[in-house]
Amino acid sequence: MSELLQFLFSGLTVGAVYALVALGFTIIFNASGVVNFAQGEFVMLGGMITVFAHAAGLPLPLAALIAIAVTAGVGVALNQLAIEPARGAPVVSLIIITIGASIFIRGAAQLVFDKQIHSFPAFSGTEPIHVLGATIQSQSLWVIGGAFAVFAGLWLFFTRTLLGRAVLATSNNRLAAQLVGINTRFIMTLSFALSAAIGAFGGVLVTPITLTSYDVGLALALKGFAGAMLGGMGNPKGAFVGGLMLGLLESLTAGYLSSQYKDAAAFVVILAVLFFMPQGLFGRKSTERV
């Protein structure tokens, strides 16, 4: 029982980060129809910038804020310089642009920072918490709580604010949104900034647990992508649940079956889900018009 609880908690922690990456994917996908493979680099930037700002003497909260703001700026630059100019390009070309961007950001991070592994202190000490025989790092609670807070915030933003509804309108039909006076260019910029900030936030939260270095982004991008697809692309609820499920699956597989094949379980489940539900768990069925 305590063992299971332990696996569930570590799964939820990892899953919360995947969920944040998957949410970032979803926001950009909805706004622009692009799957942004550079999403994992936002998480890396969040962690790395915080590390170096903190090392330069800034207090941790301020360093984290700067990291999130800078990463949001990188997201906006990505949209303006690489995605917007390629509007209308084939899907494969867009995939390669974002993978190129991810390689570029990784290379730049390696130049600006270094190739070492870094961390900074956990937010509320390293004293572990004991629950029913399981041991939980207090930072895990920050990660899980942070992910749920972001999800709740996004839900409020998309359902309760005019701006959020403008984003939804743009993702439903760009032209129609323009016709009712929505500045879709601004919505695109906003979506990239929001998505990058969420990624960076995830990076800030998880770095005390998993550590960070310039090359952690790709694996996270793949997991987040898989989580988003598992839930059904374009659906924020699906992305959140998909990411959490992926983390739980990994941790349970590592615990009970084989730690070497923990990534395999995730992809086997995704293949199985897509086999029975080609649109993912929460995706809507779409029909092709000729």
Partner: protein, 316 residues
């Protein structure tokens, strides 16, 4: 002379004449690497260019082809040349089994499913140490063909031999791909690329034709993986990794995914680029990422179609 024959002739002439300008033996090796990559990318052209299906896991098949050459000669005493065939056969069967369910998916969903397949293959190669010796890689036996040629009086250096062999393999691969383009299957593939529903209504068995394209492209990737392993006499699980899959797709799209010449040029450029970029040491990744983005932003159709369009525009 048809466009097909012209393409093949130009390709053959380039392969045959380039060595005249090689300043050193090292360039034979680069050339051979280029041809192996171009062969794998030709498979991507069939799948993505002809049929419009995305695969982000094709390196998995290259891994199978490569490890078949490393393992079959040692464990089953199979001659390495037959191991290439065995690898291709295993890849074809796997592609058929995997392709049936996943090719029902579209766009990004197909992307993530194929990605999953590739990652599974890479994971098995990394983890089953008793068989594959794990992430450090494994030695691959000699093909033995160079020795045979020497016995009949044709004494080639290792570089020359692999340059010639991979060049011939690429020519055969390109010839088959060009034939396929003009065959009923090729036309069916191009039709379903336009619209699957429309292709279905004119009597094309969409699922079957898509599966054929997937299996054929898997065999291309597998043979390319085998040739790479035999040439290097060594292979690591990286050959099946995600970045290799991406590299294949990037080469195809960079050159122009619809055409075989595009595949060759894309593979050529992206094989040369890292060799050139080693001069820049730490800046290598930044430049590589920048080149990928710039080409796709300014030439979203790829180099060959974009340049052709420019040339034709001038004629008018």
């Amino acid at each position: 002379m048809s466009q097909k024959h012209a393409t093949l002739l130009v390709l053959a002439a380039l392969i045959a004449l380039s060595p005249l300008f090689f300043p050193s033996g090292y360039y034979y090796r680069i050339g051979a690497l280029m041809f192996v990559n171009a062969l794998a990318v030709t498979g991507i052209v069939i799948l993505t260019g002809y049929a419009g299906q995305i695969s982000l896991g094709h390196a998995g098949f290259a891994g199978i082809g490569g490890y078949a050459c490393a393992l079959a000669p040692v464990h089953w005493c199979l001659p390495p040349a037959l191991a290439v065939v065995l690898g291709a056969a295993i890849s074809a069967v796997l592609a058929w089994l995997v392709g049936r369910p996943i090719l029902r998916l579209k766009g990004y969903y197909l992307g993530v499913a194929s990605l999953g397949f590739g990652i599974l293959v890479a994971m098995v190669l990394n983890n089953e140490r008793w068989l594959t010796k794990g992430p450090d890689g494994i030695e691959v036996p000699d093909l033995g063909l160079r020795g045979l040629l020497k016995d009949v009086g044709l004494d080639l250096s290792n570089g020359e031999f692999w340059y010639g062999l991979t060049g011939i393999a690429l020519l055969v691969g390109a010839w088959l791909a060009l034939n396929l383009y003009h065959s009923p299957t090729g036309r069916a593939l191009r039709a379903l690329h336009g619209s699957e529903v429309a292709a279905g209504t004119v009597g094309i068995d969409v699922a079957r034709v898509k599966l054929q394209a997937f299996v054929i492209s898997a065999v291309y990737a597998s043979v390319a993986g085998s040739l790479l392993a035999l040439q290097n006499k060594f292979i690591t699980p990286d050959v099946a990794g995600f970045m290799h899959s991406i590299e294949m797709v990037t080469m195809a799209v960079l050159g122009g995914v619809g055409s075989v010449p595009g595949a060759v040029i894309g593979a050529g450029i992206l094989t040369l680029l890292p060799q050139v970029l080693t001069v820049f040491a730490d800046y290598e990744q930044v430049i590589l990422g920048l080149v990928m983005m710039l080409v796709m932003i300014f030439l979203p159709q790829g180099l060959v179609p974009s340049v052709l369009r420019k040339l034709r525009g001038k004629d008018e």
